[in-house]
Structures are given as structure tokens and as C-alpha cells.
């Protein structure tokens, strides 16, 4: 009897799920997929906070077309499969008009592929991998691509007179591997010799083996295309080993100074490529920084800026398209409007070439001196 009861209960629960659907037509639903927990939670939360900030701002000013914007946020925990699950839920169950997401390249690629059949407009603020926009015309990004920043760092090396460089990268992450591959290609063509090329896997915390090999090759510069947490581990272990080479990072490295309990002397004299700099005097940037500071009591990092821009670009397109209910035609209308974008955002002037979801932008190089970020130059 107990068993029959158990079966009945489970089936009943299943039907209970049906209660969780239905939507109001007086709000515009925008889906957000971001890693709110996991290794890159700082990024996910930064993007999410920034999107919320801009959404609140727009809503206070009357929303879009008189309707308030409602955000439906899902945590993908930094995992591609979770991201795809969240995407499925947003499209079928929550019926959103558009999606802002994901944050890191691997889950974004998965979502991009899953979305081609549906043709729903998706904009990612921050996924820099080349392939993200290669699957369909519905995928947009607010940031530059990794190839560009790898070239920037290679140019920087040449500009600084570097002849011997080493690379240590994460072979199980598409972001890190893509950057590694591009960096190697550019160094090759620019005449910078790669004296050591070491790889590690996701989850590794001990880099002594690879760093020992790098130390033996004695490079002037070590290129570490990694997110801030692991970057710190590698950098501090390298310094502890007595390696004095300069560290080169990438946009994922932004945030190293905010690591709780880190020894920031490790970062002195390093360079990394990024999307924006707080030194930028333009109005849009300073307003954004002031608003963010007021709402969250901290200086926004590049990913927050990009998240803000993604929302800005998307809402502008929705307003121009003038459609607010999810449907195949409306989605296409928003996509068309996105391609017509021409606006000044926090991270630069954004325009899209027809059929290419990557905007035309430039990269900035930041350096760290005495535990403070400084704008170094554009390369």
C-alpha cells in the first residue's frame, strides 16, 4: 500500500509542475543565464548585477514601450549542460522575448548551438571565443573576440622588446585554449620566440611541475590566459619558485585585485588586455561607474561593464523593433534591429556588420602598479 501511495504521490507532483506556468502580457520577459555559483561566480554576479542595474534604470524611466522589463535569471553553475537546461526552460516554460547570456565561452557556445533552431535573439556581454557567433545569425556579443586580445598582447610584447615568452594555459577550457592558440600564431608572425608551452587541466591547483619547466626555459614574459582565481594561483606559485618574469593576462584576469585574501604584490608589474578602463573620462562610462558604485558599493569590473552594455544594446533594439511578445516573427524583428545598432556604450562604440554578431571595437591594456589598476595603452 505504501508503495502505491508513493507512486501516486510522485505522479501528483509531476502534475503539480503544471501549476508553474503562465505569464503576464504587461511585462517584457528577458531571460538571463549566468554562473551565479561556481568558479567564475564573481563574473556571473557582476554581469547579473549590471544587467539588473540597467534594467532598473530603464524601468524607472518607464520601461520599453510603456511595459516594465522582468528579468528571469537562471544560474548555470559554470556548466554547459546546466546552461542548455536553463535555455530550454527559458524558451519553453518561461517564454522570454530575448536572452542575455551566457558569461563564459564554453556554456555560451552550447547555448548558441541549441538556439539556432529556435532563432531567438541572444546577446552575451562577455563570451569572447570565436565560435560563439558562428552557429547562427541570432547570436550577438558586446565584447571583442579572443583573437583580438591575443594579438594585442603579442603586439605589447613586441612593443616592450620581449624576445622570449612562455605560455601556460588550461587545455580543458575553450577560452584559455583559444587564446593560447591565437597568441602562439601572432608571436610566431611577429618574431617573439615561445620558449615554453605548458598545459594543465581544469581543477588543477598544483602547477609546480609546469612552472619548473618554465623556469628552466627562462622567459622574459609568461602569458597566462586564465580567469583571475587560477591566474593568482599560477602567479603566486611562480613567484614562490623564484620566477621573475612579467605576467601577461587577458580579460578574464580582471578581478585579481579583488580576490579575498590574495597577496597583491604578486601582481605588480603585470599587464592584461581588457574591455574598458575606469580612467576613461567619457560621460557614459563615468555615469555607469557612479551608478554601479551607488548600488553595489564597489567599482565595476570589465564584465559588469559588458553586462551593462549587453542590456543596453538589447533594450535599444527591442525598442526600435517595437515588439514585446515572444514569437518567431518578433524574434527575427529584434535580430534585424540588433544588426542596425549604432550606439556609444560603456565599453566603446558598438556597431555590427550584417550577419556578424561580433561588434567592431578596440582593446585596452591595463597594468597593475602597487595594487592599483592603471590604463597603459591601446595596442
Amino acid at each position: 500500500m505504501k508503495k502505491v501511495l508513493a507512486i501516486v504521490l510522485v505522479v501528483a507532483m509531476m502534475f503539480g509542475m503544471t501549476a508553474c506556468s503562465g505569464s503576464g502580457s504587461d511585462t517584457i520577459k528577458i531571460g538571463v543565464i549566468a554562473p551565479l555559483t561556481g568558479d567564475v561566480a564573481v563574473y556571473g554576479n557582476a554581469v547579473n548585477d549590471a544587467v539588473k542595474l540597467y534594467t532598473d534604470k530603464v524601468n524607472t524611466e518607464g520601461g520599453i514601450g510603456g511595459k516594465q522589463i522582468e528579468l528571469v535569471v537562471y544560474d548555470d553553475k559554470g556548466d554547459a549542460t546546466e546552461a542548455v537546461n536553463a535555455y530550454n526552460k527559458l524558451v519553453s516554460s518561461d517564454q522570454v522575448l530575448a536572452i542575455i547570456g551566457d558569461v563564459t565561452s564554453t556554456p555560451t557556445i552550447a547555448v548558441a548551438q541549441a538556439s539556432v533552431a529556435d532563432n531567438i535573439p541572444i546577446i552575451t556581454g562577455t563570451a569572447t571565443h570565436l565560435d560563439v557567433t558562428s552557429f547562427g545569425t541570432n547570436m550577438f556579443r558586446a565584447c571583442f573576440i579572443d583573437d583580438l586580445q591575443a594579438r594585442t598582447m603579442a603586439n605589447l610584447a613586441v612593443a616592450q622588446g620581449v624576445t622570449k615568452a612562455a605560455v601556460i594555459y588550461n587545455a580543458s577550457d575553450s577560452y584559455s585554449t583559444g587564446l593560447h592558440d591565437s597568441f602562439l600564431t601572432y608571436c610566431d608572425s611577429l618574431g617573439v620566440e615561445i620558449v615554453a608551452d605548458e598545459a594543465y587541466a581544469k581543477g588543477d591547483v598544483d602547477f609546480n611541475a609546469q612552472l619548473t619547466n618554465i623556469a628552466a626555459a627562462d622567459p622574459e614574459v609568461i602569458f597566462i590566459p586564465e580567469y583571475y582565481n587560477t591566474f593568482y594561483l599560477i602567479a603566486s606559485q611562480a613567484r614562490a619558485m623564484g620566477i621573475t618574469a612579467t605576467f601577461y593576462g587577458v580579460d578574464g584576469t580582471d578581478g585579481v585585485l579583488e580576490i579575498d585574501g590574495a597577496d597583491t604584490s604578486v601582481f605588480d608589474g603585470m599587464y592584461f588586455s581588457n574591455h574598458y578602463t575606469t580612467d576613461d573620462p567619457s560621460e557614459v562610462v563615468q555615469n555607469f561607474i557612479a551608478d554601479y558604485q551607488e548600488a553595489y558599493d564597489q567599482t565595476p569590473n570589465a564584465l559588469a561593464a559588458l553586462g551593462y552594455d549587453a542590456a543596453m544594446i538589447l533594450y535599444d533594439a527591442i525598442e526600435r523593433a517595437g515588439v514585446y511578445e515572444p514569437s518567431a516573427e518578433n524574434w527575427q524583428a529584434i535580430i534585424d534591429a540588433l544588426y542596425q545598432t549604432d550606439m556609444q556604450c560603456v565599453t566603446g562604440h558598438i556597431t555590427y556588420d550584417e550577419g556578424n554578431g561580433t561588434p567592431n571595437k578596440s582593446t585596452k591594456v591595463i597594468t597593475i602598479e602597487d595594487g592599483v589598476y592603471h590604463f597603459y595603452g591601446e595596442y
Binding site: 555559483t37 598545459a199 591547483v205 598544483d206 609546469q210 619548473t212 619547466n213 593568482y232 594561483l233 623564484g242
Partner: protein, 290 residues
């Protein structure tokens, strides 16, 4: 030169594996359980130490002592609550409960501290120079402390009364009871001891690898278990030897083959050992009577 450094790296991580393997081996010897939760006790030790030092600004030594106490108590509590009721049940239930406790610890830690990795300050900074080889201080401390603890443990098991009790219970539970040994207390003591060692291993690990997150214990625990099996599960010198062997194998793989294969090689060693000599280096074959 590089080769020597790689070996040294291997000995460093190996000594941590050895310390953890000791906990596994003792528990298995006494109640025939692979305590999957052991790796997560390390994680608890790491978080407690970190929290005390970084958030409550307690002095390092106090923090370490508190961490050891917390882990010991935790280990004993887990045994009393989760493993004791299942002592007479099938092995599979015990194993699954251990897995359940392991997940529970990991997820509760994730809930409290979030999955964001935390930074641990190296308590033994600096390097020293030994015959042209640069050795980081924390490496030296790790190896030294591990060896001292292992020697201490061997002495405890061989020479003290409680050690004798542990050996007796592991050999024959019922007869030990007949001899007047309080089996429950002995088992609790074993768990406590293993957990205390785990806490110390946690501190040493964190000094070298500065980053802690809720899932740090699982892979570490698994590899330490492989080390225990390699050395012969139930054998203390076996655990130590096994730990060093696994550590060096892993380090050499990372340095000369590819980091991503390190896990596979470690498990490959496990499989080879289990197929050729399942009792490990120092194990003894027990024949089954029908």
C-alpha cells in the same frame, strides 16, 4: 636539475597523500569501510583554519589546534551517527552512506561558503637553498611534519595499549570484545585519530596550494585512497610508501607527459595493482573459508 625538482614536488604532494592515506587505511583496517567522507574532512579542516585566520584573526597556531579538534570531533560524530548503526548491515549500505556523508559535507560547505575559492595565506613563506636546489619552506615543513606524524602513528599502534586494541579489533572484532576491549571506543578513537591527521594534512596542503573550495577534498581523498591500496590497505607503512609513490608518479606525469593524464595514470596504477597484487605492497593475503 629539473628532474630533481619534479621529484621534490612529487614528494611534497606525496606526503600529503600519505597523511590522508593513513586515515583511510586505519579506518578500513578496523571496520572494513572505505570512508569516502575522509577527503571532505580535509576540506572542513581547511575551511575552519581559513575562517579562523582570515575572518576572526586568530593566531595561526590556535587556528590549527582548533581545526584539529573540530575535525576529530566531526570524524567521531560521523562514525557514531552514520556508520555505527550500519555495522551489521551489508557492505554496500555502509559504502553508500559514506558517499552520502561525503556529498553532504561538500554541499553544506558550498551553501555556507559558496563555491567561490578562498585564498589561504602560506604560513611558511620563503625558500631555502639546499645544495643548489631551491626548496620552498612549505615543502620542507610538509615533508618533515608528515614523516614525524607517521613515525608517531607507528609508535602509537605498536607500543601503546590503545594501539594494541586497534590491532585486535581489526583482526577479529568479536574476540577482541571477549578479551575485554571496548570496541566502540576503539573505533571512535580510530576515526578521531584519522580525522586529526586529516586536519593537519589540510593545513599543510593549503600552505602549498593556497586555494580552498568545497570540492577540494574529493579528488584528493580518492588519490589518497589509491595510495592506501597501493601500499596495502590496513598497513601503515604501506600507506606512507603508497602516498609517496602516487605523489611522484603524478608529478612526473604532469611534468613530462601532460597534466590532464595525471588522474588517469594514478587510477591506472590502482588497476594494475588490484589486478596483479590486490593486497598491495605490504598486504597479506587472507584465504576465505567456506
Amino acid at each position: 636539475m629539473t628532474f630533481l625538482t619534479q621529484i621534490l614536488n612529487g614528494i611534497q604532494i606525496g606526503s600529503i597523500y600519505a597523511l590522508v592515506a593513513l586515515g583511510y587505511t586505519m579506518v578500513y583496517g578496523i571496520i572494513k569501510l572505505i570512508n569516502f567522507a575522509h577527503g571532505d574532512i580535509i576540506m572542513v579542516g581547511a575551511y575552519v583554519t581559513w575562517y579562523l585566520i582570515a575572518k576572526l584573526y586568530v593566531s595561526e597556531w590556535t587556528a590549527i589546534i582548533v581545526a584539529v579538534v573540530v575535525c576529530t570531533v566531526l570524524g567521531m560524530v560521523i562514525e557514531k551517527v552514520a556508520y555505527k548503526p550500519l555495522r551489521k548491515s551489508a557492505r554496500i549500505s555502509l559504502l553508500i552512506t559514506a558517499i552520502g556523508i561525503s556529498f553532504l559535507l561538500e554541499n553544506v560547505a558550498q551553501l555556507i561558503f559558496t563555491a567561490n575559492p578562498r585564498m589561504f595565506t602560506n604560513l611558511f613563506p620563503g625558500n631555502m637553498n639546499l645544495g643548489g636546489l631551491t626548496i620552498p619552506n612549505n615543502t620542507a615543513v610538509t615533508i618533515l611534519v608528515s614523516v614525524v606524524l607517521m613515525v608517531g602513528l607507528t609508535l602509537l599502534v605498536d607500543k601503546t595499549k590503545i594501539g594494541k586494541a586497534m590491532r585486535a579489533v581489526s583482526e577479529d572484532n568479536d574476540t577482541a570484545q571477549l578479551m575485554g576491549i571496548n570496541v566502540n571506543n576503539t573505533i571512535s578513537f580510530t576515526f578521531g585519530l584519522g580525522s586529526a591527521l586529516a586536519a593537519l594534512a589540510a593545513v599543510l596542503y593549503c600552505c602549498s596550494y593556497t586555494q580552498i573550495n568545497p570540492t577540494m577534498g574529493s579528488m584528493l581523498g580518492l588519490k589518497a585512497f589509491v595510495a592506501a591500496v597501493l601500499g596495502g590497505i590496513g598497513s601503515i607503512p604501506g600507506a606512507m610508501v603508497g602516498g609517496f609513490v602516487i605523489g611522484i608518479a603524478e608529478s612526473l606525469t604532469k611534468g613530462y607527459i601532460a597534466s590532464s593524464y595525471a588522474d588517469a595514470i594514478v587510477f591506472g596504477i590502482l588497476i594494475v595493482v588490484l589486478l596483479i597484487k590486490p593486497t598491495g605492497f605490504f598486504g597479506r593475503t587472507m584465504n576465505e573459508k567456506v
